[in-house]
Assembly symmetry: none
Homo-oligomer: 191 residues x 4
DNA sequence: AATTAATCGAGACGGTACGTCGTGTCTTAAA
DNA sequence: TTTAAGACACGACGTACCGTCTCGATTAATT
């Protein structure tokens, strides 16, 4: 599956990186999260364990790298209303987290609880997503339908909190529409 | 620290259970979650490993037992307004989770991501807390200030989602008042 | 080759010990000393590495145990003269060290240079052999052919020194008779 | 500690050799033999690992080079008697091997048990020393006090064997005089 | 003067073995 | 029958060196 790869000098070999992430991704799909051990990944990627630890000092960092590689830039479509946008976001998240490549995420959150490096990496990613999520509120503001006295950050966090909660308790089949309605009703100007 | 305890015959020894939970609690406080291994708990409690496994088949079950022992029935005081109640709940949670005995909870959530038994136990606990949380909405309803078309469950989940999010990303110093305001504004009748 | 072996309670399982020593002996014969790694021995013996380390804390200790198991009580035959006895002893040692089960010994000496536990174990064994070697001088004394002003210990050490030297430099084909003659000539009464 | 050294063209840089041997010697003194790894030496000498391997293909070769650099031509003083000479030789060896720069030697013997290149190098060195040792017997012969039917080689080997034995078992505080007496008594003409 | 060739440092690479730790199962001997 | 104790097989951990490699630089000898 993987060819022999030697050093390409005193610098990182991108082929090795790819092989490792591929291996981790495959194992993840085949055996689930608990199968993704540094040992197994190294063996599958035909890489030395030291090589893994050189670039991904913890298992969490490796998982994070695997997850980020998949971030197929989830764009939030403009549905015309804030409630519709929130609903779409939730649905897209629930859907993504239900699929094999997204299933890792809850384990990343879990691992980040006892791995400070990962926590930092996750936080970076989370803030990035949060900013991205902010766009739907900007759109609502431009439409002039948004109450101006609600901080966009707060609203985005509320959406994210609901999403994470459902992810972590395994309720990805929840009613996104209902959730969206409950959240959004106080954020738009009463019509 | 713990005295010698032998078998008390062909039945469960409650002293042993206490000793085990005490040991786990102490280790948790001293070394953090990663120190709480079945091995270490057994040794500290002067209990056989088999004894542990008999009653708490997984590490997660043991952690959950430790956490539940501490559930000093958090009551939600009536502040007179829903927003005040939500703010109080968040503050009380953030405070509890910041203290040593509460710090475990995020690790329980984490562990439950790969331990189905624990997930079930946590879910039971979570629903219990959710029901308890529902009381503040009942009170609001009795006051007549609640919009009737918002499901109580949904609102409680939104509060819980915000709380968990802040717990899991280590932002227990967040502005509970602001969060409460953002959430609640759509749930009460416009005055 | 080896069946499954579980614990037999809170005490050492002699079957395990035997399996480990057998495995080490076999590997030694097949791959030589450098093949005798704790890892390989554990795998071959179907034993956990922890089990090995429990009973033989270092590789040297394990090698020593392997060697001692083979100590087929080398008796020194009475040839009638001290020179004959010394020659017989040297020949028997050179022969033993040339055979597979004896070849380990030089590696034990080597390992003992950087392993204090092993050094101690080897020293015990060495003194034991030295005492045993002393018998040939007692016999000579009884025969009345021994100069009384030469300490038996010193003579035994001289024999051992010659033996070890030849072992360590790989000259086990040396002329035992000549060595014996050179050493002994000052130890017996001039006839 | 060591300045930057670059290539001096298509030939060996003698500064590098010196830096490497210095580094090895220092590490040896500081951390003992087990600290002398190719990796550590290279790092300390600010040399590339490939450079080390180019000139000293094995660890043993490097150790041997370190030892030989120190061979401060031990001369054997003429004490007037063979016994005195042997005693002086033993004392000088025991003393040398007790000092930091001599302590390596036992590790060289040890390493040579599993490193054929080193074994060869050590054997060369040993024969050289053996020849040197022969001088004291030549002197005795010239004095006319030596039994003529004892081969000089054999006697030298007996002395060396005793010396090595005491080195390898850590008995460098042994009674050189006694050893000398025991060995020599058969080699000189009965007075 | 330009080119070639060997050397240098650095350090990444695939590996192997290390020694430790935790898992969950097992047996014993005592209560 | 349950207990404390702890040995057992297993497997992952994270580290240390191994010996090989490729790089980009430096410099001497050759063109």
């Amino acid at each position: 599956m993987t060819e022999k790869r030697a050093s390409i000098g005193a610098r990182r070999n991108p082929e090795t990186e790819a092989a490792v992430l591929d291996a981790a991704t495959e194992i993840l799909a085949e055996k689930g999260i608990s199968g993704v051990t540094m040992e197994a990944v190294a063996k599958r990627a035909r890489a030395g364990k030291a090589t893994l630890y050189r670039w991904w000092p913890t298992r969490g960092a490796l998982l994070m790298a695997v997850y980020r590689r998949r971030k197929q830039e989830i764009c939030h479509p403009d549905t015309g209303t804030l409630e519709g946008d929130v609903k779409a976001v939730l649905e897209s998240l629930f859907d993504h987290w239900s699929r094999p490549e997204g299933r890792v995420f809850r384990h990343i959150i879990a691992a980040s609880q006892s791995d400070d490096d990962l926590r930092e990496a996750l936080e970076d990613y989370r803030l990035e997503r949060l900013a991205h999520l902010g766009e739907i509120f900007e759109r609502a503001a431009q439409r002039g339908t948004l109450s101006d006295d609600v901080p966009a950050q707060e609203m985005a966090r509320a959406v994210m909190g609901m999403a994470w909660l459902h992810l972590l308790v395994g309720r990805l089949d929840a009613d996104a529409a209902g959730i969206a309605r409950t959240l959004v009703r106080g954020w738009v100007r009463p019509s």
